[in-house]
């Protein structure tokens, strides 16, 4: 990159690796780096990565923005490393966090376990106050008693205060007074107030989100302070932004006040980049498929935007079982855990059938072929036995794998008991894991009411490209896109996100009983908050505002995000809103129920700056310079005999990804090795490298 050129940096700190990407503001990719994450002190890893980039000529003084994604917040909750929280709630309701939803999330498991509440009962205190659903003050807040409660919590050395009163999502006056009382009693203790953190109806979910926010606040505050100081010490003078779980960006101030919004910050960036890759390949709607060592995740991206999960959970007791975790409350990019990863263990279940996962060999001891002591066959061992993974191409050749060890455990634990040959056992494991991922994706799509058949798959992660063709076939998808630089996708995704802030508030009301003055004041307030924050973050023009309200037919539980007419709302626009909702509902559920009354619940205003991905619309100069041609012509012919599940024994061409240039075409059966994974291109499929370096494969191209 040329001297003096301005650029932005994306930094993604994951569990194992810290990925960094710098992108010139003219849209040309300049530099990517990957270093090991330094658990406990993530800044050290970041500094090492930035140091390497500086050595390659990056001048941090020229940075115009740093965007950061991190798994710090989720990990703090999973590992229970958060603050000692004092929770203040309405008299009679200190046990809301204990009860949860009182639901057995799997009726065939007798040993279900729920996570312990983040705030122990002794630190949950009641204040004498009560506001009814309609706003009637049944009991005014007893400020004298409240002060006693606050002082007693402070005397017990709590490090963070959470406040959640009944019906405060729409009637916050008592919470506002309580917050000021806490501030009077203590100058600096962090305070999380439910109507600010998560102004949504349903007391358990709101209390849970507010407690979570308070729980991680001190850790996040300290960490971000350190990060800002460190960046400044490196000469960086630009603002630092954080990626939110819903795929927007926020300032450090906002992140410190509402750290709960950072819960799935890193993975959200991955989903955004999948959306971007889809855009480059000309596909507005794609399914991302990210399969790594321990899990596989997918996300549905509709019209360039990842779908949002409005009821996400963290720290599940059972990874794939909904209801076993702590509700977060704030919307997150809807990343679904769809199954096992490369390290997942294959075994025979009590009825003698093959089962893959949920047990995992993890990174240590890892699959048997790592020769680190793994004694059980994993998905990676199966792929090894099938010949899909080359022993000397793993991690760019830095780690030699042992096919003999893989074959041995596979034979002993699976093939012999089932009366299969080792390759048949390998193929069975490969198919079971592939089928299960595809089925989980399909069920999830049904839940979202999305028909996937016109979607494309964007596949990445260490094991994703190996299983992508099977997942796509199962789901009836015809195109699979394999991005370039898949290893640092999340970091580049950080740079693709526009600056965006969403403000929400619940005002539950039947449509015919809405108070126009109330709702207009509410929308005006949300809008000025969104504009104000964008302006403070440096966006003064090109602000896009989207106003929606979550609606349902009165009596239903599932709400549909419905776009609002231009404010101010009038009686006419309320009538129009009913029609808009009827149509929106019909497109989601396939039937219109115009005769039924409708209700509104949560009102949202999202303000965003100019889409950052305009920088990405031009193809990469470096990639565009070289011409196309058939990959087979350009490199000496290498082949490998493999057993391809669904196709049987077959000879595949083996191609190095770096040998592919723009417009190169690749025909199946081929294996494309790129240092971090192997792309399987089955027979009859054909791929071509697009101008951005992505390999776009059509599965039934030549039939």
């Amino acid at each position: 990159m040329k001297r003096g050129e301005r650029f932005r940096v994306g930094i993604d700190v994951g569990g194992t690796f810290t990925d960094l990407a710098a992108l010139g503001n003219d849209g040309q990719e300049v530099m990517v780096e990957k270093v090991l994450t330094t658990p406990g002190h993530p800044w050290l890893g970041i500094r090492a990565g930035l140091g390497r980039m500086a050595a390659r000529g990056l001048d941090m003084e020229q940075a115009s923005g740093v965007i950061h994604g991190t798994t710090l917040v989720t990990n703090a909750v999973i590992e229970r490393r958060g603050a000692r929280v004092g929770l203040i709630c309405t008299k009679g309701f200190r046990d809301v966090l204990y009860f949860g939803r009182e639901f057995r999330y799997d009726v065939y498991d007798p040993d279900l376990v729920l996570p312990d509440p983040l705030v122990p009962r002794a630190s949950r205190r009641e204040v004498d106050e009560r506001i009814a659903a309609d706003g009637t003050v049944v009991r005014p807040l007893d400020t004298t008693q409240a002060r006693v409660v606050i002082r007693s919590l402070l005397a017990e050395d709590v490090e963070s205060i959470a406040i959640c009163l009944l019906h405060s999502y729409h009637h916050p006056q008592h919470e506002i007074v309580l917050k000021s009382l806490v501030r009077e009693e203590h100058r600096s203790i962090p305070i999380s107030v439910s109507h600010e953190v998560l102004p949504q109806v349903r007391e358990y979910e709101r209390a849970s989100g507010t407690a979570l926010n308070a729980y991680v606040q001190p850790i996040v505050h300290e960490y971000l302070q350190q990060l800002e100081d460190g960046l400044r010490a490196l000469g960086c003078r630009c603002p630092l932004y954080l990626m939110t779980s819903s795929g927007g960006t926020i300032t450090v101030d906002t992140a410190v006040a509402f750290p709960i919004q950072l819960m799935e910050s890193g993975p959200a960036a991955g989903a955004l980049v999948a959306a971007l890759i889809g855009r480059q390949a000309g596909h507005a709607s794609v399914v991302s498929f990210d399969m790594g060592g321990t899990t596989a995740k997918s996300c549905v991206i509709q019209s360039h935007r990842p779908l949002i999960n409005k009821a996400p959970e963290v720290a599940r007791q059972h990874r794939m079982k909904k209801g076993s975790g702590i509700p977060v409350g704030v919307p997150m990019v809807d990343l679904l855990e769809i199954g096992a990863g490369g390290g997942s263990i294959a075994e025979l279940d009590p009825v003698g059938l093959l089962r893959v996962g949920p047990r995992s060999a993890g990174a240590e001891p890892g699959p048997a072929c790592y020769r680190l002591g793994g004694q059980e066959p994993t998905v990676t061992d199966a792929n090894m036995v099938l010949g899909l993974i080359s022993p000397d191409s793993f991690l760019g050749g830095s780690m030699q794998l042992d096919p003999e060890a893989a074959c041995l455990v596979l034979t002993e634990k699976i093939a012999q008991p089932m009366g299969l040959k080792p390759v048949e056992a390998g193929a069975a494991i490969h198919r079971v894991v592939t089928d299960n991922m595809a089925e989980a994706t399909r069920v999830h799509a049904a839940e979202l009411n999305v028909d996937l058949r016109s979607y494309s798959l964007v596949a990445y992660g260490g094991a994703g490209p190996l299983h992508a063709y099977g997942v796509a076939e199962r789901l009836g998808l015809s195109t699979v896109v394999f991005p370039r630089n898949a290893g640092v996708l999340s970091a580049t995704g950080l740079l693709a996100a526009p600056l965006a802030f969403e403000f929400v508030r619940s005002y539950p009301a039947e449509l015919d009983a809405i108070d126009l003055a109330t709702v207009n004041a509410l929308l005006g307030d949300l809008e000025s908050k969104a504009r104000g924050l964008l302006q403070r973050s440096g966006v003064s023009e090109d602000i896009t505002l989207e106003r929606t309200v979550d609606m349902c037919y009165s009596g239903q539980r599932y709400e549909v995000a419905t776009p609002l007419p231009e404010p101010p709302l009038t009686h006419d626009s309320i009538r129009a809103l009913k029609l808009i909702f009827d149509v929106t509902y019909e497109s989601a559920y396939g039937r219109r129920l115009a005769q039924l009354p409708a209700s509104c619940l949560t009102w949202r205003v999202r303000g965003s700056g100019p889409a950052a991905d305009r920088w990405w619309r031009t193809p990469h100069e470096s990639a565009a310079r070289t011409g196309g041609g058939s990959a087979a012509e350009q490199s000496p012919q290498r082949t490998r005999q493999v057993f391809l599940p669904g196709h049987g024994p077959i000879e595949c061409r083996v191609i190095a990804r770096e040998a592919l240039t723009v417009a190169s075409d690749v025909r199946g059966p081929s294996l494309v090795e790129d240092g971090s994974s192997t792309i399987v291109i089955p027979p009859r499929a054909a791929g071509v490298v697009d101008p951005w370096g992505n390999l776009v494969v059509e599965l039934a191209a030549s039939c």
Binding site: K91, G92, F93, R94, D95, F99, R101, E102, F103, R104, Y105, V107, Y108, D109, P110, D111, V113, L114, P120, R121, A122, R130, A132, A133, V138, H167, Y169, V201, R202, E203, Y204, E205, G323, D349, P350, V351, G352, L353, L354, R355, M418, E424, A428, R431, V432, D435, N436, E439, A440, R442, V443, A446, E447, N449, P508, G555, Q556, R557, R591, L593
Partner: protein
């Protein structure tokens, strides 16, 4: 029913795995569709529904993993009844059958069972099923005072709701005309239909893909594998006859509310012989007046669910598990009322049959059984009246007690053996004119033991407008018992303005007055002396138990 026999030709075990997983996923898809498109809070907040896929002979192949265990089992009962009543020629592509007949269904007239035959190339291959608790089907609304099933709801015998793809307008109009809230009732019915729709196409494409002419060989393979697992679990129990009892509260006679109530006895006799098991309920109380009797379909459903849960947990459910077990429910007894008994409160007895079975097996399966819980029966509160805007409402709320402890750990506050979530207070207060003044753990209510029961809870409701209520509850005079040395949980009670009201009360709460519900705590497991003192110390610090807990209730 066919006997288990080796398959010819045997299906490849890998294909069985793939197809079985797919069947489970097909039902999951139907379940989320029904949940997503339903209207009533009974389905959406409380999960009072279930879906399944059954083979063409009436066996359950796969079903929802959450929701109500009883609904899964009774769908197959309804299907077998359908197969007995209709000739093969009368079951056609595009038909959907419907019934709420308690004696061939869920045991309660408020539940609608829908069955849809699935055809491939003109041949019947399977059935899709869906059961949901309807928001309203007419009838008394009060659950404690009905004297026969005809007072309780419109009675729909097993008949066609759709014929060859066309709706039966007459029947739909009749149902709509017999409910107070036709929009919600018909809306939920449509959600049931929507749930079954994808099952058909997905099942046919599964068969296409694997070249299956019939699902029967696959079904048989799954059943034999599951049956084998259950047989080996039963074989691990010493051959003998085991008996267990539950003594529980008597219920009101609707024709004579002042009549003294005798306690109800549920007696389970479990005969283990080799790999097979027979469960009988002979010796249980005779049929009670009113709606407080289970019906054999419901009794059998929970007996089998309770056994499967502790003998072969975790595996996907199907009919094979139940082949080595038979259940005998004497007609005219409290576990199997005769037509046309009232049915609305059938779970008040039916939820307790599991406890009798566990009591029988506790001496030989101490590591597996579960102590009695405060949600057997589930405490159902039906609220009715006019809201603050003057419109009528009728709302079913489940208030859960503490579940029983087991060898593996403490109980929770949730529903067992049914599974129904709570209703958020903020949602309740938005639609019903009540003010909830408290929803709290009842301190010391958990039955002490090596593992304690779950805690009961107290909910206080103050009427903003006057409202009527029906409360279906028990374990008031007879607290949930512990097992193997564990102590009982605290009994439950309900109070109207501070005065205790008996189980099964229908009443009124005038504006400004207060109804308090205190659900029972779950029974403990094992002697409390063996409890980890660190756990007790933490819970004392948290104020969940006091210093006297564990010694108080031992006498």
């Amino acid at each position: 029913m066919s006997n288990p026999r080796p398959l010819n030709p045997p299906i490849d075990a890998v294909a069985v795995r793939l197809m079985w997983d797919r069947l489970v996923s097909i039902v999951d898809e139907a379940t989320v569709t029904q949940y997503r498109t339903a209207f009533s809070t009974v389905v959406q907040e409380a999960n009072d529904f279930a879906c399944s896929v059954m083979d063409r002979r009436g066996g359950t192949l796969a079903n929802s993993r959450f929701g109500l265990p009883s609904f899964v089992a009774t769908q197959a009962v309804t299907l077998r009844s359908l197969l007995a009543r209709f000739d093969a020629g009368e079951i056609r592509d595009g038909d959907v059958f419907i019934t709420n007949d308690p004696w061939i269904g869920t045991g309660q007239v408020m539940d609608l069972t829908l069955l849809r035959p699935i055809f491939r190339d003109g041949r019947l291959v399977a059935f899709a099923g869906s059961v949901a608790h309807a928001p309203d089907l007419g009838g008394v609304q009060r659950w404690n005072t009905s004297t026969d099933v005809f007072e309780e709801a419109i009675f729909i015998p097993l008949m066609k709701l759709y014929e060859g793809g066309s709706p039966n307008r007459t029947l739909l109009d009749l149902i709509a005309a017999n409910t107070r809230i036709p929009d919600l009732t018909i809306g939920d019915l449509e959600a049931q239909l929507a749930a079954m729709r994808p099952i058909t196409s997905r099942l046919v494409s599964l068969m296409d893909e694997y070249g299956l002419e019939s699902l029967d060989p696959l079904a048989d393979d799954i059943y034999v594998r599951s049956e084998t697992a259950m047989r080996s679990a039963i074989a691990g129990i010493p051959d003998a006859t085991y008996t267990g009892e539950v003594v529980s509260d008597g219920f009101p006679d609707p024709l004579d509310l002042a009549k003294p109530r005798d306690p109800i006895l549920i007696r389970a006799t479990v005969v283990v012989a080799g790999e097979e098991m027979r469960v009988g309920f002979a010796g249980s109380s005779t049929q009670q007046p009113g709606s407080f009797n289970s019906i054999w379909t419901f009794t059998e459903a929970y007996t089998l669910y309770g056994l499967r849960l502790i003998l072969v947990p975790d595996l996907p459910n199907n009919a094979g598990f139940y082949r080595p077990i038979s259940v005998d429910c004497p007609e005219g007894s409290v576990v199997n009322a005769r037509f046309p008994a009232a049915t609305l409160s059938r779970h008040a007895v039916g939820h307790q049959v599991v406890d009798a079975v566990y009591a029988a097996l506790a001496p030989v399966l101490p590591g597996a059984v579960i102590a009695q819980g405060g949600s057997a029966p589930s405490w159902d509160l039906i609220l009715m009246g006019k809201d603050l805007r003057g419109r009528p409402f009728n709302r079913l709320v489940i208030i859960n007690g503490g579940s029983g402890a087991r060898a593996a750990g403490d109980g929770y506050t949730w529903c067992f053996p049914a599974n129904i979530s709570n209703t958020p207070i903020e949602i309740l207060e938005t639609s019903v004119p009540v003010l909830c003044e408290e929803k709290a753990v009842i301190v010391d209510s958990a039955g002490p033991g090596r593992h304690r029961g779950g805690f009961g809870q107290r909910i206080s409701l103050r009427a903003r407008n006057g409202f009527g209520f029906s409360l279906i509850n028990a374990r008031v005079g007879h607290a949930p018992q512990g097992l193997l040395g564990g102590q009982p949980g605290r009994r439950g009670r309900a109070l109207l303005d501070g005065q205790e009201i008996p189980p099964g009360t229908d009443g009124e709460v005038p504006a400004g007055h207060q109804l308090v519900i205190e659900t029972p705590g779950g029974g403990g497991m094992g002697p409390v002396i063996e409890r980890d003192p660190r756990r007790t110390a933490i819970e004392m610090e948290d104020g969940l138990v006091t210093a006297s807990w564990g010694s108080l209730q031992s006498d």
